[in-house]
């Protein structure tokens, strides 16, 4: 019951966040200089043609009416036509979002599976060589631009060693329709086509690794700091005084209370990952939404921009809702305080 109340409050907040986001992106998209109709038609189009398109798109209407149309569309789940692809934005997003989603989720899993243990090891052997190694890695991972890592991996694994594919989500000519969730691994599993699952994983590995390194370093650093913080608590000393073994102390007594900061940061990382994914998508010819969004921005494809932003925003809000629930589960203090509030 309390949990449902908590969820309802969080959901209400999420809706508010999305409304705010819709206003902000609407205003920004229209304040940025450049006429979408002119850009879509090219420099040789006549003034009449441009005016005609402006009227068709409703760009001649007052701003509040334009916003009304936009929100009305959103409420019906209609994102309008893309000027760039000349298809509905819904369709464009439906085909590109799963690719980005699969990439980002894999990235986060990799970052988490390696980042957290690295942080734990660094904290466990603080100021010794494992710690120094992890800290050096975290700094290198943070300062190396994603595009550089992506190219490096592509050259190394793709061309020099030739062990992994470097473009696309599946080998060209693969006959497979990902029409259930759009996620190749999930759909492959659901349809029992395990060669597709295997190939999809092979294709995912390099782009996801390239995208994950910075987040992985971040996870490691935060886990390390949080673990060290907790290790100074009296209850860790108490566990030691009662002869609780090192291993149990480290994972049960120390890691769980230390787990909230990395978890929270991971939720926030999703936003920057979706944004950052475009570099990786371009380099690995990944047919994803991030690359689509960037193209839309450079072409001032208003409907596409707003569609991409709203979908990313919705996804971000949902992920963080999930993270909030997880955080409450990991740390009962947060759950119990929320109940009292």
């Amino acid at each position: 019951m309390e949990f449902l109340g908590f969820l309802a409050r969080r959901l209400a907040w999420s809706v508010l966040v999305l409304v705010g986001l819709s206003v902000v992106i609407f205003v920004i998209a229209r304040v940025v200089p450049g006429d979408p109709a002119r850009m879509a038609l090219g420099p040789r189009a006549s003034l009449e043609q441009v005016t005609e398109l402006q009227e068709k798109l409703g760009l001649n209407l007052p701003l509040y009416q334009q916003y009304g149309r936009f929100v009305g569309g959103l409420a019906r789940g209609e994102l309008g036509q893309s000027l760039l692809t000349e298809r509905s934005v819904n369709l464009d997003i439906r085909t590109t979002f799963p690719a980005t989603l699969e990439l980002v989720i894999t990235t986060v899993i990799i970052a988490f599976l390696f980042g957290v243990p690295l942080g734990v090891a660094a904290a466990r052997w603080k100021d010794r060589w494992p710690d120094n190694l992890v800290r050096a890695f975290a700094i290198v991972a943070a300062v190396m631009p994603t595009f550089f890592i992506a190219l490096l991996l592509q050259v190394l694994a793709g061309y020099v060693l030739q062990i992994l594919p470097t473009t696309g989500r599946l080998p060209t000519g693969t006959d497979f329709q990902a029409d259930i969730t759009g996620l190749l691994i999930v759909d492959g599993l659901l349809k029992g086509q395990f060669h597709v699952v295997f190939e999809a994983m092979r294709h995912l590995l390099l782009p996801a690794l390239a995208l994950s390194l910075a987040t992985m370093g971040q996870m490691a650093r935060i886990t390390r700091a949080s673990m060290i913080d907790v290790s100074r608590q009296d209850y860790i000393e108490a566990a030691r005084a009662f002869g609780v073994p090192d291993r149990v102390r480290l994972f049960k007594y120390q890691l769980r209370p230390a787990f909230v900061p990395p978890l929270t940061i991971m939720g926030l990382e999703f936003a920057s990952l979706i944004g950052g994914a475009f570099v990786v998508e371009l380099i690995f010819s990944w047919p994803g939404m991030a690359a689509y969004g960037i193209r839309a921005i450079t072409q001032k494809d208003l409907n596409a921009i707003m569609g991409v932003v709203m979908v990313s925003g919705l996804f971000f809000v949902l992920v963080n809702l999930l993270i909030d629930v997880l955080v409450g589960w990991v740390d009962p203090r947060i759950r119990i305080r929320g109940r009292r509030a």
Binding site: Q233, D234, Y235, E237, A238, A239, R240, A241, F242, G243, V244, P245, V248, K252, Y253, R256, P257, V330, D331, P332, R333, I336, R337
Partner: protein
């Protein structure tokens, strides 16, 4: 009769940032079987370091033990292999921690924390007890520390309990594996005076009922009078005075002891307006 715990000429120094400080200068004290002994001194006098050295909790470095013996039950703890040393923790000697707010893990229930400690203590002692047996023992000990509803307390997270209840959980934690020596580090100082008095009474009753030896570490001579028969007074890393509690209060020999006695707040005498 030889003492259960006997610290002989213990010297400890700390080295930080290249400077070395002598923290304990040949400390000697004895806790006979079933006796209630207090170690009293102001902050920084070295009583916590003495306690940590006995429990084997000193971080080395920065600490270094460069002299003395800590005999427990006829064995020198300082020369004991680490494994056997750990085996004694919580089972032969255990500690009542000072701060009830920070000494319990916030993300696990009381039952979970107590059964975990019990599980590994059992394992070290080669005792065979299953999950239900451990739970039963936890409930039993929580009842011993006079929890009104031990089942409910066991299922609670520390944040759901009052300070006094948490302090009692810490005492229960120390009693879980039937130790012979209890080292209490100023239990209750973080609580209000009434609750502290209850905690001290509970501790004394338990120690007497179970025939445990108690080493009470405190800065408060009021606590000493409540809980011990014999006192060691510590100052600047040395034992400056020792004797039976009653005699020490009547005729302190050292100026330092007299100062400590003078510092005990009294309920008698003139009340400030």
């Amino acid at each position: 009769m030889s003492a259960l715990l006997s610290v002989q000429g213990l010297s400890v120094s700390f080295t930080t940032y290249g400077r070395t400080a002598e923290v304990l200068k040949g400390v000697s004290l004895e806790v006979p079987q079933g006796a209630q002994v207090a170690l009293v001194g102001e902050s920084g006098s070295g009583k916590s370091v003495t306690m940590k050295a006995i429990m084997g909790l000193l971080q080395q470095p920065p600490a270094r033990i460069h002299g003395g013996k800590i005999m427990f039950d006829g064995r020198d703890l300082l020369t004991l292999p680490e494994r056997e040393r750990v085996a004694l923790r919580g089972t032969a000697m255990s500690m009542v921690f000072q701060d009830p707010m920070s000494s319990l893990n916030p993300v696990w229930t009381i039952e979970d924390q107590l059964t975990t400690i019990l599980k590994y203590a059992d394992r070290r002692l080669g005792r065979d007890r299953d999950r239900r047996g451990r739970r039963a023992r936890v409930i039993e000990v929580l009842a011993q520390v006079r929890m009104r509803d031990p089942e409910r307390v066991a299922g609670s997270y520390p944040i759901m309990l009052s300070g006094g209840m948490r302090q009692r959980v810490l005492i229960a934690m120390a009693l879980l594996s039937e130790p012979r020596l209890l080292i209490a580090d100023e239990p209750g100082t973080a609580l209000d005076v009434t609750t502290q008095a209850q905690i001290l009474k509970l501790l004394r009753d338990l120690v007497e009922a179970q025939g445990l030896a108690l080493l009470m570490i405190t800065h408060n001579l009021g606590v000493v009078r409540e809980t011990s028969n014999y006192v060691y007074v510590m100052n600047k890393g040395e034992i400056v005075e020792e004797g039976p509690t009653a005699g020490l209060f009547e005729a302190p020999r050292q100026q330092y002891t007299r100062d400590l006695i003078a510092a005990v707040p009294r309920l008698t005498g003139r009340v400030a307006p």
